[in-house]
């Protein structure tokens, strides 16, 4: 029975982690790299066979709970009083889809990293963290209950933190790692509170259970709780708390600030964690909880609006970024916004479909960008690129595939998934048309900034001095002279992902009868979907999307085609003259959002004093800084009360004594003489 082997899927990377952690330094780089890749790819093979077995079952039975201990037995992990949690996996279409993405795309990125990191001295440490990440990510997606999901959730956060800060000689990297970790904690509080409330409301943390002991999703679908009918207000609060958690992990407004900074890590990390897998965890969690989320219309509206706004905001910022990885980072935030838009309008399948195609093309874009950076010896600024089309042809052609996919060029993978989301938004009630319109505008911007990236990097004239390459001392530079194509270990994953970016969308296209949506249907609770087949509205919407994508690409081509020399639309002199209110500055300064937050924080800066010094140095970020200011100044105030004089301490104690005694006497006055 193949289901009894599911435990191996997370156990393999765990083994890889332990092996590399303890023996990594002794066995040499080759063994480390291949072992790390192999455990993940075997997980992929195993996931495929489980998928085959699952598809043989009738649709209603495509939901298995299997233990994650060897042998697949379900034994309780924690059992204290009425609090019982199993260490078990929920095998259903959703979790299996994510397994395939995590192990498949993740495996390819592992292979890529064996080439990319080849000359790093901490090779073993890198793959140790990488395997640990895969283990936690698989725990997250396979979790049978909320608590196990939370364990994975925190685990991937920790690995993300460790990997962003991987090159810790560079202070900014460690800074970025700190920021990512802390902003995520804000989300995690939401998650933790939501989880507690779920337990308090439903008396269980399992998603699904038996008829006698139903999981909370089953109860939510039937609108009942452990103590009678489920109140809509309760569902709303739980949904909002969970969404706060999702916002943190999946970089939605206003908690998106950490993701662009997280690009300080090595490029494979950006590809794996900050594009293909971890950042989509929020979408996965929301989709997993769709029976509960859809109970509250308020939550749905909030998710859709936040997603839509984030998509627009990030895309507009992406228009003016010059760092190739920053463009991709904002693009990721924007695409994640699309996914939440899909979930928010009730098309969870469409959201998950976009997760899938996004994993292909965004993973590819990051790996391609890594290849470019690698070729240029560590250069990340697009203003010093150009003319790379024929120098690194494989990278160029594969990235071009991803470019068309993300821009939504007809028949490419991104086209199908984005179209699905926009269509669902269009047909959804309430503000559906508005959401659709903003989505379309965002799509236009997406096509534009991706074309801009391609032109600046590949088609405009060369703007770097080949002799100086590698002088910037970045970590992509490995001392090879001149521009060079990457080794096969890096290009093969690129080619595979390119093929998927081109064709991967067909599984969800009307040509294949919306196979993807049918597959996922048992696992999520869609409330809106595009009408099936190619008729009427659907056709019109598709045509509009196609036109927008093509228009965006052509527009960018025409603009940049005329400026091959500089690759800049606005001459440097003109930029310098622009005031802070000009659209360009507005976008370049990230809508002044960080600045606003910083201002709030720094406005009080005079009072901060010494106590805040480490905050100031380490966490230079608006939201976090404001919070830190409050904590720090309170703390430094109260710190003064710790005078070091015994008699003052005794006085404090006496104040406490009097307060306790008087307070208790006062409080219990009415209990006396009943």
């Amino acid at each position: 029975m193949i289901f009894n082997w599911v435990w191996l899927i997370p156990a393999l990377p765990l083994f890889g982690f332990l092996f590399n952690a303890f023996l990594g330094k002794r066995v040499g780089k080759t063994v480390v790299g291949w072992l790390a890749s192999l455990v993940v790819l075997s997980g992929f093979a195993l996931s495929v066979s489980v998928l085959a077995a699952l598809l043989k079952l009738p649709e209603s039975e495509r939901q298995r709970i299997v233990g994650l201990f060897p042998g697949g037995v379900v034994i309780p992990w924690i059992h204290i009083g009425n609090f019982r949690v199993n260490y078990a996996a929920l095998v259903d279409p959703l979790s299996l889809l994510m397994c395939l993405i995590v192990t498949g795309v993740g495996g390819l990125i592992h292979v890529y990293a064996t080439g990319y990191m080849a000359e790093d001295q901490d090779y073993a440490r890198f793959f140790t963290y990488f395997n640990l990440f895969i283990f936690f990510m698989l725990t997250l997606v396979l979790a049978e209950n909320m608590l196990l999901l939370f364990v994975g959730w925190e685990g991937v956060g920790l690995c993300s933190y460790l990997l962003i800060s991987f090159w810790y000689e560079d202070k900014n990297n460690a800074l970025a790692g700190n920021k990512a970790f802390i902003v995520n904690r804000i989300g995690d509080v939401g998650f933790a509170l939501g989880m507690m409330l779920i337990f308090a409301t439903f008396g269980t943390l399992s998603f699904y259970g038996t008829a006698a002991h139903p999981g909370f999703l089953q109860m939510a679908a039937r609108h009942i709780s452990a103590h009678g009918p489920l109140l809509i207000s309760t569902a709303t609060v739980i949904g909002l708390l969970l969404f706060i958690g999702a916002c943190g992990k999946s970089a939605q407004f206003p908690l998106y600030v950490w993701l662009p900074d997280a690009m300080a890590g090595p490029t494979p990390v950006s590809a794996l964690i900050h594009a293909a897998t971890m950042v989509t965890a929020g979408v996965v969690m929301v989709s997993r909880c769709s029976p509960l989320i859809t109970d509250s219309a308020t939550v749905m509206i909030v998710i859709a609006s936040v997603g839509c706004f984030t998509a627009f905001l990030a895309a507009s910022i992406g228009l003016v970024q010059n760092d190739i990885k920053k463009v991709l980072a904002y693009s990721t935030v924007s695409q994640l916004g699309y996914m939440f838009l899909g979930c928010g309008v009730g098309a969870f399948s469409a959201g998950m479909f976009h997760v899938t195609t996004h994993a292909f093309f965004k993973g590819l874009l990051f790996l391609g960008a890594g290849s470019v950076i690698h070729a240029l010896g560590g250069e990340q600024d697009m203003r010093r690129m150009g003319g790379l089309k024929n120098r690194i042809p494989i990278t160029h052609w594969t990235m071009a595939a991803a470019w068309f996919a993300i821009a939504g060029f007809p028949l490419f993978s991104g086209f199908w998934s984005k179209d699905e989301i926009l269509g669902a938004a269009y047909v959804s009630p309430d503000a559906g048309k508005v959401l659709w319109f903003v989505g379309v505008v965002t799509a236009l911007m997406t096509a534009f900034y991706m074309s801009r990236l391609m032109w600046k990097t590949f088609y405009t004239n060369q703007r770097f001095n080949e002799a100086e390459l590698g002088a910037h001392g970045g970590h992509g530079g490995h001392g090879h002279p001149g521009v060079h194509e990457s080794p096969p270990s890096m290009t093969v994953p690129l080619i595979i992902l390119a093929a998927l970016s081109v064709c991967g969308g067909f599984i969800g296209s009307p040509f294949m009868g919306d196979a993807f949506q049918r597959y996922l249907a048992p696992a999520v609770r869609n409330t809106t979907a595009m009408p099936e087949g190619i008729t009427g509205t659907v056709l019109v919407l598709m045509v509009i999307s196609s036109l927008v994508a093509v228009a965006g690409i052509l527009w960018a081509m025409s603009l940049y085609g005329k400026r091959r020399e500089t690759g800049d639309l606005i001459p440097a002199a003109a930029k310098a003259k622009m005031g802070p209110a000009s659209p360009y500055r507005f976008l370049l300064n990230l809508w002044y959002w960080d600045a606003l937050c910083n201002k709030v924080a720094i406005g009080y800066g005079g009072v901060l004093g010494n106590s805040l010094k480490w905050f100031d140095t380490y966490i230079v970020d608006g939201v976090v800084n404001t919070l830190a200011w409050i904590v720090g100044s309170l703390a430094s105030g109260f710190r003064r009360t710790q005078t070091g004089f015994v008699r003052n301490y005794a006085l404090t104690m006496l104040i406490g004594v009097v307060a306790v005694v008087v307070g208790m006497l006062w409080g219990s006055f009415h209990f006396m003489f009943k």
Partner: protein, 102 residues
């Protein structure tokens, strides 16, 4: 039959206890502070004995025996510590014992 009610004894012990507490807070010599703590303990002893008589129980006096043993132990160690502090600092003023703070 009892001329002096228990409440009087309790009031006296509360007053003595409070004087001890105030003494702890305002004296600078740790030996005197410690004497004030002894005064607090003795005030509590009076409470115990008063309650013991009130309930006609031996318990109250039993507690006092234990409290005395505890006080003796505290005195032994406390004076030892004060002597040790004097050896390292050449003063026992508690306002000058102030290295550790904030």
């Amino acid at each position: 039959m009892l001329a002096v009610p228990t409440e009087y004894y309790l009031a006296l012990s509360a007053i003595l206890f409070t004087i001890g507490v105030i003494g702890v807070l305002i004296k600078r010599n740790p030996i005197v502070i410690f004497m004030c703590i002894e005064l607090m303990l003795n005030a509590v002893n009076l409470t115990f004995i008063a309650f013991g008589r009130h309930f006609a129980q031996i318990n109250g006096q039993m507690y006092v025996i234990f409290v005395m043993a505890v006080a003796a132990a505290e005195v032994t160690v406390g004076l030892g510590i004060i002597v040790a502090v004097f050896r390292t600092k050449d003063t026992i003023d508690v306002d000058e014992v102030n290295l550790l703070k904030f």
